[in-house]
Amino acid sequence: MSRSPEPTPPAELIRRHQRALWRWLRFLGADGPTAEDLVQETFLVVLRGPFEDRGPAATSAWLRAVARNLFLKDRRREARAAAALEEAEAVWLRFRAEDEENGLKDALRACLEELPERGRRVLGLRYEDGWSRARIARELSLGEEGVKSLLARLRKALRACVERRLWA
């Protein structure tokens, strides 16, 4: 008779999944403090309930589902359609956003290296240094709209590169 594996201790479960769960909630649109609160609530709901550990992938999916429900409950007033979140789940899985290794983040790092110097600089100013679009526009002697479309183009190029790497 096969024995079910030992359940993962709560501390280990939290350590293993909290970062991806936070990323998921931020992706759905929760601000930083809300994401932190909902991560806590999610683990509390899961660990206090009849939780069966069926391995990392199933646990991730279960945690994401609970977090999504809590997020929807939190945002009830905004009435964000649950159907839209189904699409979010599909995008999340397709881009392997959960994985700390060999997933979206690793692919993105490699793609950033492939960008031309100017592109890396603009993304660095925006995301690393936290500059506003207006400040970047002044620095590069561009219009604000120009910076906006440049950033959009860069993200599009990165997405194409990430897809290529993830699904090659």
């Binding site: 501390a11 936070w22 993105l108 995301y127 690393e128 993200r155 990165l158």
Partner: protein
């Protein structure tokens, strides 16, 4: 690209480039989990939006009002409790009374739902509630009375319980042999408890007052007994064996402060350190450092005999700090281990005890709490530093900032005399001279560059980079331009009145230069094409090139 795809990429860029990351929530979740099952409808920790909050508060007050009407008779609504403040400052904003209590002050208050207690903004406060339980309030903490219940015990009507919500900030208290904490959004349900002497935690004004007078009298008896034992011991002729006093040893006993009791290896290491020797060494060393600093400030040569003495004493401390490093205490280099919150807290304790300015029990507990909080932040930093894309200099500066915050908060809970022992004014912020400063961490990676102007600094940096990175012609030109921009961007005070000759270096200068140098490194990595090996080398560099005016 769909909206979700764009958003996912945006989030990934914020994490990858911007370093956005969540705090480690394990501790909070496990604490709440241990707190027992609660309904899923429990309000989240985060304060709700103002409109929602107003609606919730109205609902809460309505419910509390209904509950109270059913539970409390009019007389019991006057039930009171004593607040005593031993550290910091708190404000009581009650329905019937508003007052400010400074350290040493106490007052009887009659709590009612909606009454608030606020800790001061500048420093933590230590509050004794009902003459029995001690709470450590973080700065800016706001507590709100949510509900009260009454109970009858032995014919006396006393408060049966008090529900207090943490509106903002957080507080800690000792229970079950460890520090417990409650954060904003959580509620504390305090039931009637009795101290060892039977004094109730809560009671009617008269009962509370009588019980507290009794407790105070007993405390006075305990204190006098301890003094008597100490005096008898001092006066006893040598060779006469004394009975061990039954009292707990005083806090200056040199016992290590438990910062991470959950880490048995660190606890064992702390127990092995000779704290008295460490305290004595630092006590001897600080006046010598003051003399050395004075000589160097005057522009003189390093007095070799003085430097030799300091070096000898430093050897004692270094051997202790090395033990921490070898035991895997996280931090950059030996000084990183020395300045780890758990270690620093104990060195401070040892020095103050040796100087006759021991931490009192409240301070020890508060320091332990602070040390624990920052030690856990330190762990998170260490984990982030393991990211192969993290810049070592960035991690170093974050470590320094974390330790600065720890030291600032620690100082806030010390008395002025204690602060003077740890940081004589002349040594404050001097690299390598101030023993309780994050400057010690920076000192290990300093590379002073004797120059006259920004141009010479840029030349020096260029040749250093050219020697360590294999760059193509255009890439080298690009680096040259960025380096020149960096040298020109240094604050004017670095060139006028900044580091010069052998004068002691100030931490503020080093930090200002290091932050700009980090910006330079990020720009080089971002804008200059180079081989992976060169990138790794640049990311791992922790050297800080500090211009010293010739």
């Amino acid at each position: 690209m769909t909206d979700w795809e764009d958003r996912l990429l945006d989030r990934a860029l914020r994490e990858t480039l911007g370093g956005e990351a969540p705090a480690d929530l394990s501790h909070r979740i496990l604490l709440r989990l241990r707190g027992g099952p609660r309904g899923e409808e429990k309000a989240p920790r985060r304060p709700p939006s103002s409109r929602l909050r107003a609606a919730l508060l109205a609902a809460v007050f309505l419910c509390v009002g209904l509950l109270l009407r059913g539970v409390l008779a009019p007389r019991e609504t006057l039930l009171a409790i004593r607040l005593a403040v031993t550290e910091g400052r708190v404000r009581w904003l009650g329905t019937t009374r508003r007052l400010v209590l400074e350290a040493g002050g106490s007052a009887l208050v009659r709590p009612k739902p909606g009454d608030r207690l606020e800790a001061g903004t500048a420093r933590p406060a230590v509050l004794i509630l009902g003459g029995y339980r001690r709470f450590f309030l973080d700065p800016n903490t706001i507590l709100e009375v949510r509900a009260m219940t009454a109970t009858n015990r032995n014919g006396r009507t006393i408060l049966g319980g008090l529900a207090i919500a943490v509106v903002s900030g957080g507080l800690g208290w000792m229970a079950g042999g460890g520090l417990q904490r409650a954060e904003a959004g959580e509620e504390l349900d305090m039931r009637v408890e009795t101290a060892g002497d039977g004094a109730p935690l809560l009671g009617t004004p008269k009962e509370t007052e009588l019980a507290e007078r009794l407790a105070a009298a007993r405390e006075e008896i305990r204190r006098l007994r301890a003094r008597l034992v100490a005096r008898e011991k001092a006066e006893a002729p040598e060779g006469v064996e004394e009975e061990a006093p039954a009292e707990k040893p005083p806090p200056d006993s040199g016992d290590p402060i438990e910062v991470l009791p959950s880490d048995p290896s660190l606890a064992a290491l702390l127990a092995r350190i000779d704290w008295r020797m460490a305290g004595r060494t630092m006590k001897e060393m600080i006046p010598l450092l003051e003399k050395l600093n004075e000589a160097l400030e005057k522009g003189g040569e390093i007095p070799l005999d003085l430097a030799g003495e300091i070096q000898k004493l430093n050897g004692n401390l270094l051997s202790q700090a090395k033990a921490f490093l070898e035991a895997g205490v996280p931090g950059s280099g030996v000084n990183g281990a020395w300045t780890h919150p758990a270690v620093t807290a104990n060195f401070m304790n040892a020095l103050l005890a040796e100087a006759g300015m021991s931490l009192d029990e409240g301070q020890r507990e508060a320091l332990s709490r602070l040390g624990r909080r920052y030690a856990s932040e330190n762990e998170i930093l260490r984990d982030r530093g393991k990211d192969p894309n993290a810049l070592a200099l960035d991690s170093l500066l974050k470590e320094v900032e974390l330790k600065d915050r720890f030291l600032e908060e620690t100082e806030a809970m010390l008395s002025a005399d204690q602060r003077r022992i740890l940081h004589p004014e002349s040594l404050r912020g001097r690299i390598g001279m101030d023993l309780f400063s994050s400057g010690l961490v920076l000192a290990q990676y300093l590379r002073p560059v004797p120059v006259r102007n920004p141009g010479q600094l840029a030349d020096s940096l260029r040749s250093s980079l050219a020697g360590s990175l294999e760059l193509s012609g255009p890439a080298r030109a690009k680096v040259d331009r960025l380096v020149r921009e960096f040298a020109d961007s240094l604050p004017e005070e670095i060139w006028k009145g900044g580091p010069k000759g052998k004068a002691p270096l100030r931490k503020a200068w080093v930090q200002a230069v290091a932050r700009r140098q980090l910006g330079l490194m990020k720009r080089i990595l971002r804008e200059v094409p180079m081989a992976d090996a060169d990138r790794r080398q640049l990311r791992s560099s922790m050297r800080i090139f500090l211009p010293i005016r010739r």
